[in-house]
Structures are given as structure tokens and as C-alpha cells.
Symmetry: C2
Subunit: 679 residues, 2 copies
Amino acid sequence: MNPIIVAVICGALGLVLAGFMARYVLKQDQGSEKIREISAAIKEGALAFLGREYRILAIFVVVVGIILGVIPMLGWWVTLSFVFGAVCSGLAGFIGMNMAIRSNSRTAAAAQKSLNDGLRVSFRGGTVMGMCVVGIGILGLSVMYFAFHNSLDFLKIIPGFGFGASSVAIFARIGGGIYTKAADTGADLVGKVEKGIPEDDPRNAAVIADFVGDNVGDVAGMGADLFESYVDSIIATMALCMMAYTATMVNPLVPNTETAYFLPMMVAAGGIIASIIGVFLVRVGEKPEMGALLNALRRGTFSASILAAIFAFLAVYFLNADIGIFWAILAGLVAGVLIGESTNYFTSYAYSPTRRISQSSQTGAATTIVSGFANGLMSTFPPVILVAIAILVAYKFAGMYGVAIAGIGMLSTLGITDATDAYGPVADNAGGIVEMSGLPPEIRERTDALDSLGNTTAATGKGFAIGSAALTALALMLAYSQAVGIKPDVISLLDSRVFAGVFIGAMLPAVFCAMTLNAVSKTSFTIINEVRRQFREIKGLMEGTARPEYGKCVDICTGAALKAMIIPSLMTIIAPIIIGLILGPLALAGFLLGAIACGFIIAITFANAGGSWDNAKKWIEKGHLGGKGSDAHKAGVVGDTVGDPMKDTSGPSLNIMIKLMSIVSLVLAPVLIGFPGLL
Amino acid sequence: MNPIIVAVICGALGLVLAGFMARYVLKQDQGSEKIREISAAIKEGALAFLGREYRILAIFVVVVGIILGVIPMLGWWVTLSFVFGAVCSGLAGFIGMNMAIRSNSRTAAAAQKSLNDGLRVSFRGGTVMGMCVVGIGILGLSVMYFAFHNSLDFLKIIPGFGFGASSVAIFARIGGGIYTKAADTGADLVGKVEKGIPEDDPRNAAVIADFVGDNVGDVAGMGADLFESYVDSIIATMALCMMAYTATMVNPLVPNTETAYFLPMMVAAGGIIASIIGVFLVRVGEKPEMGALLNALRRGTFSASILAAIFAFLAVYFLNADIGIFWAILAGLVAGVLIGESTNYFTSYAYSPTRRISQSSQTGAATTIVSGFANGLMSTFPPVILVAIAILVAYKFAGMYGVAIAGIGMLSTLGITDATDAYGPVADNAGGIVEMSGLPPEIRERTDALDSLGNTTAATGKGFAIGSAALTALALMLAYSQAVGIKPDVISLLDSRVFAGVFIGAMLPAVFCAMTLNAVSKTSFTIINEVRRQFREIKGLMEGTARPEYGKCVDICTGAALKAMIIPSLMTIIAPIIIGLILGPLALAGFLLGAIACGFIIAITFANAGGSWDNAKKWIEKGHLGGKGSDAHKAGVVGDTVGDPMKDTSGPSLNIMIKLMSIVSLVLAPVLIGFPGLL
């Protein structure tokens, strides 16, 4: 049997589980009339956003598809592959978000019964997302394989699929990221700061926009992001497979070319089965203790990692590949788990780094900012060392192919890690719905507990996403340099074009972050002005006798966020093309390496600084150092607000940016072969 | 005549001008009894700090000197060279600071007469510093040349001089930087925020420590920093000269090996003469208008740049070198000037980026921080592109040798740029003295005007220092790879050790900044506690009937800052050694490139974010957006406080860090030749 059939079966099993979970969630009670009403408003806003976003994306996909088709060295099969990748990515995001906007009200209703019920509904909602991403990913790649594996141009066509997925991801992540943080900041600044009303208060016109943001940013955006990592890492490995075969003819890592294709698919397929088993191991006991809940989730992900390693070993063994490849996979898997742990250490208030930030809040906002930022910078140490070790181990045992497959190893348990990740925004939304519909405080306490658990798993997931993005982008860069025909001995680090490329590449993530941070600020000002206008013009709003125009806010935020996403997204796609054309393919390889290294550093710094500010504030809110309302708390709120766009917009977008620039280069490789650069 | 004699004469002329300027300043009136008293306290504190710092440095120099001596591949001549470099660097810092602590009171006194008199005294004080740095630098290198140029080991011995200079620089910059910002923050947080007394109020126990900080950080630290850049760029060029000669035998860039040594010295010597002429062109008219003052300074530096280019052309012409070398020098010079301009654009409130930060202050501290940080990130674009262009042009016309000599081109006008830079802290100190001695407000207004002018020149100077540090470090990295015998075709960007090295290198500047930021926070808490204690325990202090114990604060700050400087400084020296020994010389080259690229980006971001927060606050203080005391102003103060350690401690220390790691590698090159790495 063709092993790809096994991959198809595993992917289908993932989707079956998703369907099963979706049925469970949809059968649940939707709660009171009030809850349904709020949920309907969120649903409407989220779908409106996604509709308008996808329309812009469609134009983009058509234009780029035509460009790819008319370039003689690429052609229409690349276009087809590109469009198919874009559709798959869009689909994963769409299904995930559709599930999320249906799970939130049901989680709110379930939380009225017990904490446990709330967790079950929201985690199952998240599982739909995780399983859809891996299932659609592996099925899409299998289709690509069956359609084109006999074509001589297979290695030219398949990167198009990744390019399609990456393009959708960058727009979705940036657009959704800007939306969610602008709405959040806007709602907070007018509501909490100016008017002194609580968070998620129904009088605040931006509150529905804020809930919509959680769905379009943290669910749809993240789904597209992880889908991209998943398929790109497999594509990079496939693209490097020919190389691994031919370069090691004397003592080949794999017995034949086919195996080099099959192996990444089988490792990914094994990961899906491991994730499915892991999901079933997340059994929550009857006691609704936070520690127990967290342990349940960890047991699931940890078991999935061990199983994924075992399956990877079996794949290597039965496909008669070199055992070195297994060590490479294991290196990636272990590094991923440890990066997650280090992220947790630097961002959870259970540990000293975050508590130190809480303490510096006592001397004001400035010291809060400096200590949080220093913490973010310091936290780059473990992930970088871990990735460097994984690279060195993987390369030693299996060359460049090893580096690429280490990335797949890291991502193999994506099905379950994404599930624990996607459940967070659902719980967050549920909490907001509980607040808005005026349910008793003990229900809100339950959803807060779920939200808090979600923050912990989100932090781990974020570190994992960054680490895998760096490895994937590196693998793509290596694949690019092979595809463009760069012999290792011509791409010298001492070549001026190469190091000029490294410098320019290192600068781009910084400029990109500046753009996305500014976009959030600009969009949030639009929201602020609208909320202020409504408080001014709608009579009785503050007194609670009139209702704000939620839809107006959602609409304004949608327009502003979509407008703001275009420039940074296009810049990411165009920059490698410009470098490649002007300075040539060698400079482009240097450029990618500089961008990956510096983007990795900035992404970790932003994610962990943001995460630790958030939790430092929460630590104070738990009654420490004066508790809510104290000066320390005010300073903590400033830190949290600064960290929000860093950790939820700019940081995650960087992951996509480095992968996208690398895959654009890989797609363009046939054009750049032998091209000296215009200068 | 040996051209090095010309260099000696030019260096001596620089020192003569310094002596002339020093005599002028020392002849000036020292002001009232009160001014003398305050000045004496500052002098005492500054000298005590430098004394203790130099004692620690002496131990370090002795230990490292012995290690260098006993390593068989290096030997005692390297030790001698190292010690000599350290002494020269220490001397430049010591003279500069001694002049600064004598100029401050005289500037305060002169400002009582007129703005013009104030500017003349402070600028001449700064000129002493600038001329000492270049004079001592070129004389020290000339001594090295005459002593060792016939030795076969010349290229092994001379990097020792740079290593000595760099080692002193890192301790001085970090130690001084931590001191100055900790004292500043500590004084502000207790004085302005907690007690509500004005800045520089004599009741604040930390106020003298704050003044001392300006001298030990912004003068002595900066002197050592620029001394390092200056000599390191010349050393890198010399080290690459053999290569330039042999690699281009068919069509050599220089007619013989000697010329390759002479040329960098002559370019630097020409720059000194250009700077001296530039200093004399800084003529201030009778009208004390700020615009006119700024124009006077710019006329001086701009003329010096043109003259330096002409002298460089003459040097290339008369030494019979290839004209391509001149283009390389010019590329560096032009890039330096343009980087200064771009820094000015991003940090001056005359332009929109900084004004936008002022505007975001209206919505609170969080938006101020985000917009300032985004501005800093965005500002990396022009300097990186300019440096990349300079690299490409220089390499095209003169190979690696061209890249190195472009660095000298950028630094050739250091004599005058450092003078305009060093005058700033003198004016700042003078302002503080005026405030503390209770002189009438119009005098304070004059010193404020001088201070503000100093901030503008400092911003330009900072950009220039960062750009030149990146070029110098890159030249040292190239020299290292030549010295260690790396052939271009073996150091492939696609080698796992090389790219793992790039990743680790890119992370180190981030961790280094985290350490220095934390060191400032930690030290400032020590000060805060001491100032609070004095307010609590000294009766009548708040009422002004008792005096605080200034000396106690100075002493505590000195101890804490010196303790905090040790770990980051040592890490910088040890990191490249560890990488070289464990992963081998190829990984070390990648490591250096990663550190230079990422360090460059972070240094610009920190410097310009910090500078723009500072000026955004000043813009509000000039009466815009509500002026002093408004909510926007409070938010602006938070931005300024966050930016302070970034722009004055961590950012500038990064310049030294990347140069130091590169020169450590160059010094160690003989040890690493043919060494495969322990792993």
C-alpha cells in the first residue's frame, strides 16, 4: 500500500474526531435568550469581518495566481497549487472560527452548571480547530502528491501550495491581530479609563467588537498561522528530499526518492494519531481544581509527544530509512516541548520573573515597562539555545534534510497543542458573554478560571509556535538555496552580498513590527472616537436606558483593520522578490537567514514580555501588592496594555512573516536560477 | 619621510589644540562660592567613582594580560600591547572627564554673562575630549607601529591593543551607564514623583550622584567607547591589509604592503586636521539664537567631512593606491553623515515621528510607550540600508579591505563629532549647578537652551556611533576570519554550525540588554531606598533647614553600579571564546555576524526610541498639548523614564559589545587556527 494512503486515513480520522466533537458541542444548550442574543451579535460581526477579509484575499489570490501563471519558469500548475493552498488555509480558519463562535455561548451556558462542563465544551470546541488544521493540511498535501508526484515539476509546483497557505495566513493574522487588539484597547481606554465602567460592560459600544476580535484574531488568525507552519514544514522537507538522496548516494539516508517523500507525511500522520489519543486522555475528574485541570491538559499533550516519537521511530524503521533521521525528529520534538516549558517559566506568575515585574509595578509604570521588557529579552536565551542544539543534532545525524524533518518533529503533535490553544479564546468569549448577560458572579468566576487556564496553555503554545516557525523557515531557506542551485562553497559568509543581505534581513522584522504596532494604534483611535461619539450622542446610554450601536463599531473596526493589514502583508511578499532581483540569489539567502534569526529574537521577546506583563497584572489582581485599584495595579495595567499588541499582533505575525518570505523565495527559485542580480 | 611621522604630527596637533582649549577653559571664572562648592562635590564623586572603577579594571587587565602571555600561540608581546591599549583608553576617558568636571562650573558662571559665553566654554571643554581621543588614539597606534612593524607577529600583536581599549570601554560604558541612569531614575522617582520637589533640588540626596553620573557615564564612558571604535577600525584595516595585498596580486589595490598599513593611518590623520579646521569654523555670532548656534555646529562638522574626503583622496593619490579605495572611504563617510541626519529626523521634535509620540501621550502612558517603541523599530530602516549600501560599494571597489577602510572613513571626523557630543553633558551639568545654587531663572533658561542644543547633537552623534560600530565590528569579523585562515569557500551559509552560530549570536545582544536594563533597575532601587531613608531620618531636610548626605548616595551608587557591571562585561568577553572552543572557528564567524546584525538593530531601536521619548516629553513641556503638569506630560515622563536606560546604558553598551566580541575573536585567532571545535 502506498504510505500516502495511510496519511490520508490518518487525516480523515482527524476530521472524523473533529466532526464528533463538533456534534457534541452543537448539541449543548445555548443558554438564555440574552446569551443567544449576544452570541448572535458576535457571530454576525465575526462572519462579516471574515467575509470582507476573504473578499480582499480573493482579489489578492487571483492577481498573484495570474502573475505566477504567466511567468514562464513557473506556469499555471503553480497557480493551481497556490490557489488550492490558499483555499485550504482559508477553510481551516473558517471552520475553526465557525466552531468558536458557536462554542462561546454554549460554554457560558455550560459554566452555569459546573466548571467541568464549561471546560469540556470549550476544549472540545478547540479540538475541532486543532483537528481541522492537521486533517485539512495532510489531506491537501496528499491530493497534491497524487496529482503531481509523477510530474518532473513536482518540486516546483508543491511550494505553491505553501505559498498560498502562507499568503492567507499573513493577511488573516495581521488583519485579525489588528482588529482584536484595536477593539480591545479601544474598549478599555474609553470604558475602563475614561468612563470608569467595568470591562465587558454592555454600555460600551466597542464590547461586541472586542468579542468579535477574539474570534477573528485568536482563532481564525491562529488557525491559518498553524496551518501554514504545518504544511510549510512538510513541503520544505519534501523539497530537500531529493537533495538528501542524491547528496548521500554513497551512504543514503533513505533507500529511494519515494521514501524521502513518504517519511515526512508518515511522521505527520503518526502525530495526528498521537494527538487523537492525547485528546482522549484529557479526562477531567469530578473535582474542579485548577491544578487538576492543568494536569489533565498536560497529560494529554505530554502523552501525545511520547506517542509521536514512537510513531516516528516506526515510520523510520518500516520505511528502511537511516536511524539518524529519527534522532533529528526527536531533537525537534524535545526542543519544542522544552521551549514550551521555558515560555511558561518566563510568563507565569508562579515563577519569579513575572513576580519581579509585579514588584516593579510598585514604583510606577516606567519600571513595570522596563522590567517586563528586560524579561522578554532575557527569555530569548533558552529557545535560541534549544533551537541551535536541535539544528546541530539534526544536521549531524541527517544533514539539511534532518533540520527540515526536525521541524516536522516539533509540529507533529500540533493537533492537540492547537486544541489546547484554541480553547482559550472560546473561554475568554464565554466570560464576556456571562458578564454582559448579567449572570451571577460565581459563574463569571468559573469562566475566569477557564480563561486563566487558557492563558497558561496559550503561553506554552506561543513559544512552541515561534520555535517551530523558526525551524520551518530555516528549512525553507535551505530548500530555497538548493532549489536555486547554490552550492555550499559559493555562498560564503564572507561575501559582501551575503552579509549585506543578512543586515537588511535582520532589519525587516523590526520595521514590520513598527508597522503592525502603528496599525493597531491607528485603528484603536478610530474605535475610541466612535465609542466617545456614541456616549456623547446617544441619550441615556451611560444610564443604561439606551443601547449602543454595536454594529457600527464592528463595522468601523473591520474597515480600519483590513485597510491597515495590506501594506505590511504586501511588504513581506515583495521584500524577498526585490532583494532577489536586485542583489541576486546569494544575497537573498543571507537576507532570509538574517530575517529568521532577528525575527525569532523579536518574536520571543514580544510574546514573553507581553505574556509576563499580562500575568504580572493578574498576580496583583489576585490581591498581592495592594490588589485591584492600587497604584501598583494601575502600573500593571499600563504594562498589560503595552504588551497586548506586542504579544497578540506583532509577535505572532512575525512567525508568519519569516515563513512567508522563505516560501516566496522557494517559489521564485526557478526564476532566480543563474540570475546574477541587477546590481 | 615615513608617512607614520605625518600621522604622529597630526595626532600631536590634535593634542596641542586640546591643550589650548583646556587652558582657555581653566582660565575662566569658576563662579560664586556656592557654585564652587557644588562643583567640588561633583568632582570628588566623579573621581572617587573613576578611581574605584579603574582599580577593578586594573585587576582585570592584569589577569587577562597574564592569560594572554601564557598562551603559547599569543605570548607576552600581546600582553604588552593589550596593557598599552587599556592604558591609552583609560587615559582618554580620564582626561575627558577631568576636563568635563572642570568645565561645568565655568559654563554655569559664563552663562551668567551670556548664552554665547556659555556655549564657548562648554564646547571648548568638549573639544578637549574629542581631540584627546583621536590624538591619543593615533599616537598610541603609531607607537605600536614603530615598535612592532618589523616583527613577523605584527598582525598578532596589534589586535591586543584594540582588545585592551575595548575591555576598558565595556567596563567604563556599562559601569558609567548604570551609574548615571540609576542615579537619574532614583533622584527623579523619589524627588519628582514621591516628594513633588523639582528636578535638581538641593534637598534631594541623589542630586549630586545624578550630576556625577553625567560625567562618569556620558563623558568618561563615551570617551572610551569612541576611542575603541577609532582604534579598532584602524586595526581591522591593518589586519586586512596583507590580505588585500596578496589577494589582488594581479591588480593590487596598493603598490606594496607598507602602503596598506600607511593608508588607514593617513586617512585618520587627515581626519584630525579636518576636525581641527572644523572646530575653528564653529564661530558663534553675537546673536544667541538657537538656530544660529545649531548652524554653527553643523557648519563645523559638515566642513570637516568635506575636508576629510579631500584629504583621503590626497592620501590615496600620493600613496599610489587604487582609486577604488577612495570610493570605499567616501562611501563610509557619506553613510555616516546620512545616518546622523536620519537619527535627527526620527528623534527631533521638529519632525513628525516625535510629534506623533507627543500626541499619543494624550491617551496615556501605554500608547506613549507603544508609539515610541514603534518609532524606534521603524528608525532602523535608513541606517541599515545606508550601511548595506556602504558595504556593497566599498566591497565592489576595494574588497574586504574596502569594507574596513569605509569604517575609518565614517570615523575620520571623530575629533569634531565627539567634541559636539561631549559638550552636551557639560551643559547639562551646568544647568543643574545653576538650579542648585539658586541663580535666577533666566540663567537656567540659557543653560536649558545649551542643554537642548546638546541633545540634538547627541542624537546625531549616537546614530553615527552605532553605524561606525557596526562597520568596525564587521571589519574585525572579516579580519578574524582571515587571521584564522578561513577560506571564503569553506564558510558556507548553509553549514549548520554557521547558521547555528548566527542564531546564538543574534540572541546575545538581547540577553545583554536584559542584563544591563535589570542592572539599572536594581541599582536605582538601592538609591531610592537611600534617598527615602534620608528624607525619613534627617530632621528638617524637607523644610530645607538640614542638608542631605550627598556623599553617602554617591558612594552607594558607585558600589552598586560597579558590582552590576561585572557580569555583562565578562559575558561579552567570554561568549566568543566559548563559541570558538566548543563549535569551532566557522561557528564563531557566524556568531559574530549574527551578533553584529542583531546588535545593530537593537542599538538603533533603543537609541532612537529613547531619544524620541525624551524629545516628545520636551515638546509637551514647551507648552503643547496641555504643557507641563498635564496628563499628556505625565505620560510623556513615563516614556522618557523608560527610554533613559535604553538610550544611555543598554543601547550604547551594545556598540562596544559587538566590537569587543569581534576583537576578542581576532586576538584569539592564532589559538583557533585549524581547531575543529570540541563538539
